[in-house]
Symmetry: C2
Subunit: 461 residues, 2 copies
């Protein structure tokens, strides 16, 4: 009998309960960006810690940070075996716009093999799959095939501001051989994927202000510079019509990708057509000379994620607003440094600000881009696990998204992360009606069980 | 004893009660732009109708429209005398942003001779001054010196969509010789003013849409055209950096104002410095070759009054929003036609819309610009009344604002409107902490009493 038989059978037998537990987990509105949800987020961390204790993990602890706590657990009795650190995040994106949800975001509904709810896919469902794998091993065999540490954070969706410092301060306690995390997307139901690169990110909030209070646009329209118009003018000047970023020096450190790597990407990654289908749009956009997949992964981007200014209710209102705010998200690629881009952006915005208005720029998130060598033995173990869990050979893909924790593991601990995707392209993460495809939850649990065993037998790890 | 002695004495003796009644009036949140306040607005109309009945006005009626009702009242027993139609509006601007109010917008507070509350100045206080003048005459002399019709609307702040049609359908019933209204601003406490021109207005809502749902900017940033960025690009292209409007044909019908009129404006209107002080800004902005007063009155303007798109909460959110909306307010001058400008704008916006996005433009308000001959006998009567009510010779000014009703009286009934200002430049109309200077309420009542008598004795009216 193989070591994985009993855990896999246990996971299979407990499918319904596992889904019930996932529903419980999704029910916490652990929206890290919203101060009013700080208590919900803390309660979610406690629930997770209790859960880890109950399945047999040890030294479970909830570490407070400046905002949302980290949950830690370990099981270190596999003498001589490698140590796997499982990473995930229990915080979620804000659920807005609420009126576009077909069911309440924090009261999960199951329909046609999908569980609908904010965070169901990103990242509660994917994270819980690993925990259920640990449970399946511990409850059947009383042990794990490797040493395991879990480090689960509550700040991923706000850029993990306290995560890298926590790693830096706890290098010894967090020592491990490899990291595994599932917080990504596979190309399709039968196409498992391992992500080997993620873009970095820089989020800025730009405020343009003018008069001290809102003014009547009848009385002052034409003689007072409108901050909202000034904001549009500045935002319009940050990019060309195809999105090329005009900030001087912005592209200086962008690493050119070799023809060999581009060929590998073309044969493993999504086609333009697949990406357009996933986005639900008819036409692509962006920088010439690159496929859509390349534009979204090995090229940087700037997205205005929100603008708020003036009156937003129904009907007209006659005002010149006193101020206006834009949220800017940069996605960065090696070897761009978010803090350098922050400085270049501030300088450029200051130059673009007319003397009749004032601008201020606040840094909200900075994360470095990261690439894992896809020939690393860790990736080999992950690929084998994927194959066994999903019944298909995984593709190796780059993600256009950002996971600051993966960067922190890379830059602080010098450790590679295996990103095994359990999410689907149509999971609508970050959007209304997010869902998790439940067969992937169960295949994810099996994949995680296999992964722990693959790491245990890999001689290079 | 003069005919005005008793009414003026009555008004003086009842000052405190009149202020109490104004507070009652301001307490209705009659926000015409907000569907959730439709009942409050209707209740406010009923209150006004009851009030008119109680002071002795006749045939008081509340006429429903497609949105908010019109209140009508008359007193027509001054045989052989002219008929004055008193216009005003009981609806108010939205009170947002609520957190910038020092006292609740609909729970008026009196402080240092000012009454604070939304609508206190625009237009409830100014409107009630005329009603209290009617009461002062009717209660003391049992009659009015002229025939009077009151037409008070609840849709001014949303552009009076049903007002001109109502006039057109009721020309006979509304027949009058002159119109009087107070919904404007005087330059300072001791400087009464009569407004002889108002700009027209065109309010459009521009929506730019792209993907069907919000997308993750990590996955799609750089390959999907962002509607919010597209909106900024279009808005930025509608005007030059000094506000000149780039819509082809926009200035074609702008009437040049004679040097003589510009000289009159310079000697009667505010200086650049006064306008900057009123706006509370250090530097002016706008079209060269014109004073600030000219830019705000005889030149058209475009103000972006609001933009809503994407995430507006605290912290970052990783989305490409599916759509974004901008509110555009044009202020127009003779002989610009709002419906022609609407068409030119739509055409231009359609040309500016890239093929990767879609744009739709909704008309929300259209009002023609209007100029009253300042040598009309009506204006002479109003000036005499101002002099007696405020103790100073009024200035004749142009307003940059819009009152669709004044345009409707001009274009539908062929009648001139005397706009006698009771508001002050620092009343913060349309902004948080709107207030009405109570001494102007009382001087306004006296001015209205004088006005009715001046019209009665003017041989040319």
């Amino acid at each position: 009998m193989s070591q994985t038989d009993q855990p896999l059978a246990y996971a299979h037998a407990n499918r319904a309960r596992f889904v019930t537990e996932l529903r419980e987990f999704v029910r916490f509105p652990s929206v890290s960006a919203r101060p009013e949800h700080a208590r919900d987020t803390a309660r979610c961390a406690e629930w997770l810690a209790d859960h880890l204790r109950r399945i047999g993990m040890e030294h479970v602890a909830v570490f407070p940070t400046r905002s949302h706590p980290l949950v830690y657990a370990e099981w270190l009795h596999a003498a001589g075996a490698p140590t796997v650190l499982i990473y995930g995040h229990y915080d979620v994106q804000p659920a807005e716009p609420l009126d576009e949800w077909h069911s309440p975001p924090f009261d999960p509904v199951e329909s046609r093999n999908n569980l609908y709810g904010r965070g169901a896919s990103d990242d509660k469902g994917q994270l819980l799959a690993h925990i259920k794998a640990l449970e399946s091993c511990l409850r059947t065999r009383g042990s794990l095939p490797v040493n395991v540490k879990c480090l689960l954070e509550g700040e991923e969706e706000i850029g993990s501001p306290n995560f890298a410092p926590f790693l830096a301060e706890n290098k010894k306690a967090l020592a491990a051989d490899v990291i595994v995390a599932s917080d990504t997307t596979m190309p399709g139901k039968d196409r498992p994927a391992i992500t080997y690169s993620m873009r970095g990110a820089l989020s800025l909030e730009l405020e343009i202000s003018g008069p001290e209070a809102d003014l009547h646009d009848g009385h002052f329209g034409g003689i007072v510079h409108n901050p909202l118009k000034g904001l549009c003018d500045i935002v319009a000047q940050l990019q060309t019509s195809v999105g090329l970023i005009t900030i001087p020096g912005f592209y200086d450190r962008v690493r050119e990708v070799s023809d060999e790597e581009r060929a590998f990407m073309a044969s493993n990654g999504p086609t333009d057509e697949q990406l357009l289908n996933t986005a639900g749009i008819g036409r692509g956009w962006g920088e010439r000379g690159h496929t859509l997949y390349e534009r979204a992964t090995i090229r940087p981007a700037l997205t205005i994620t929100g603008i708020a200014g003036g009156y937003q209710g129904p009907g007209p209102k006659s005002i010149i607003p006193a101020r206006a705010v834009a949220k800017l998200n940069f996605r960065l690629v090696p070897d761009q440094d978010p803090l350098e881009i922050d400085r270049l952006s501030r300088d450029h915005i200051a130059r673009l600000t007319p003397f009749t208005l004032r601008s201020t720029t606040k840094l909200q998130l900075a994360a470095k881009p990261v690439v894992v060598d896809r020939r690393h033995p860790l990736i080999r173990a992950a690929a084998a696990a994927c194959y066994k869990g999903f019944g298909a050979t995984p593709v190796f893909v780059r993600s256009g998204g950002t996971n600051p924790a993966v960067g922190a593991f890379h830059y602080e601990l010098g450790l590679p992360t295996a990103l095994i995707a359990f999410g689907l392209p149509d999971d609508r993460i970050h959007a209304p009606n997010e869902k998790f495809y439940l067969p992937n939850f169960h295949k994810g649990i099996a994949t995680s069980i296999w992964f722990l065993h693959e790491v245990a037998i890999d001689r290079e790890l």
